[in-house]
């Protein structure tokens, strides 16, 4: 026998041992790196850099050995009867897209976009009483839409408010997502698999909501990003900011203000 026999022998171990090694939560924790704004929060638990698999408030987080994290939100699909706004017009408009679809002259059917000019307009258009509109950092918004996803049968599966904005230093995105009873996917798979640079931290807001934050280096031109998630009222709230290292404070403030505005 030689060392290669042992090496190959290890290659024959059962899949459950491989899975365990990828997801195991080591009992010894690394010293946390604390974000400045999060240090002020009442509770701050750091989960970065160690194997994590467990429920963290409204989320299930699985640390992958090789590819960052997998995150799933703990939410229920919202019954359509709870969505009372004009967004229901999409259940007529989307089937028409399918009916009138032409491969050479139409957008691919199944999505409907409504441009809005204010948070209040977006909330009224959807008409879901648990929906909140978190604060957004800039008055100027480049893109402010409600996106609706539906099927040929007119069933609406997903509704999303999307806002993008840019300052000279930081770009920010703010997505608020509702999954309806007709959504047939895995309940909100956030992802982050494929980004080995991602590190996750978690804090509790003044309103007792858990907020998970991913920091990633996987941006273009050496920029970093912070992406935060909160769930409440079966709605998933996301805020993303991309920045150069020197502008970190502004990016952190965007995340902080956004998180604290959700009740």
């Amino acid at each position: 026998m030689n060392s290669e026999d042992i090496y190959k022998g290890i290659g024959g171990i059962s899949p459950d041992l491989l899975e365990e090694a990828e997801t195991h939560n080591f009992s010894v924790r690394r010293k946390p790196r604390i974000l400045k704004w999060a240090a002020a929060a009442a509770v701050f638990v750091v989960l970065c850099g160690v194997g994590v698999y467990g429920a963290t408030g409204g989320f299930t987080v699985k640390k992958l050995l090789l590819n960052g994290y997998e995150v799933k939100a703990h939410i229920s699909r919202i019954p359509m009867k709870a969505i009372k706004g004009n967004v229901n017009e999409a259940s007529v408009l989307i089937p028409e897209q399918y009916k009138n679809y032409s491969p050479y002259s139409s957008l691919f059917p199944g999505s409907f976009y409504k441009n809005v000019s204010s948070a209040e307009e977006a909330a009224a258009y959807i008409g879901y009483d648990k929906l909140q509109i978190p604060v957004f950092p800039y008055d100027h918004t480049d893109n402010f839409q409600v996106a609706v996803v539906g099927g040929q049968d007119g069933r609406i599966s997903q509704i999303q408010i999307m806002r993008d904005a840019y300052s000279e230093k930081v770009s920010a995105q703010n997505w608020t997502t509702l999954f309806t009873e007709h959504y047939d996917g895995d309940v909100f798979d956030i992802g982050f698999a494929g980004d080995p640079s991602a590190e996750m931290q978690e804090f509790t807001t003044a309103n007792k909501l858990r907020c998970i934050v991913f920091e990633s280096d996987a941006q273009l031109a050496g920029r970093k990003s912070l992406t935060a998630y909160i769930t409440t009222g079966d709605v998933v709230y996301m805020c993303h900011s991309a920045f150069n290292t020197a502008d970190r404070a502004e990016a952190e403030k965007i995340i902080h203000d956004w998180a604290e505005s959700i009740k």
Partner: protein, 185 residues
């Protein structure tokens, strides 16, 4: 797409199996190959070779775990590639890992055929299951995935020196387990 559907595509000789498999497991396979070979181009070729090997072996194989099946292929292919390259530096990742594993090898033990190789796998697995969870995970990450001692130390929250000691203790324990089995034979 789940693994059963993927294996079905292989059995149906549907070439989309390769693309789907590459999409699902490509980065995972690439990282294992990279840990062994340290060369992105070689690692990429190994991933392609592993997918091709899977295409050639399924059927007749119908692996219960496609991930483990692919993991075994990529490790074997990466070792072969390593041998081919063999301007083998003494400090290459695989060389270091194999040198460490040499400490677990009792001189009398022989692995002559596949049956004995399978018996060795079963023995290692049995030994692994007797270890604490932390140490089991560390051992698999080091000697299956080829993760470096430095990276494991960072994940575990200890110094590299401490991690090297943990690994040394585990290798000695495995060697004893193998010797014990040999003595019973």
């Amino acid at each position: 797409m789940d693994d059963k559907e993927l294996v079905r595509l292989f059995w149906d000789r549907d070439e989309t199996a390769l693309a789907e498999c590459g999409q699902k497991y490509g980065s995972w396979l690439r990282r294992i190959a990279m840990n062994i070979l340290e060369l992105p181009e070689d690692a990429e070729e190994c991933v392609n070779d592993a997918l091709l090997a899977a295409w050639n072996r399924i059927p007749p194989h119908e692996p219960e775990s496609l991930k483990a099946f692919l993991g075994k292929l990529i490790r074997d292919i990466a070792v072969s590639r390593y041998r081919e390259n063999h301007a083998a530096r003494r400090d290459s990742s695989l060389r270091v890992m194999l040198d460490e594993l040499a400490e677990t090898v009792p001189s009398s033990f022989r692995v002559e055929d596949e049956v004995e190789a399978n018996a060795l796998s079963a023995l290692i697995e049995s030994w692994l299951r007797a270890q604490k969870k932390d140490e089991r995970a560390l051992f698999v990450r080091r000697y299956y995935y080829g993760e470096t001692v430095k990276s494991l130390a960072a994940a575990y929250g200890c110094s590299e020196q401490k991690m090297a000691q943990i690994m040394l203790r585990l290798r000695r324990s495995l060697k004893k387990a193998i010797e014990k089995t040999e003595a019973v034979k």
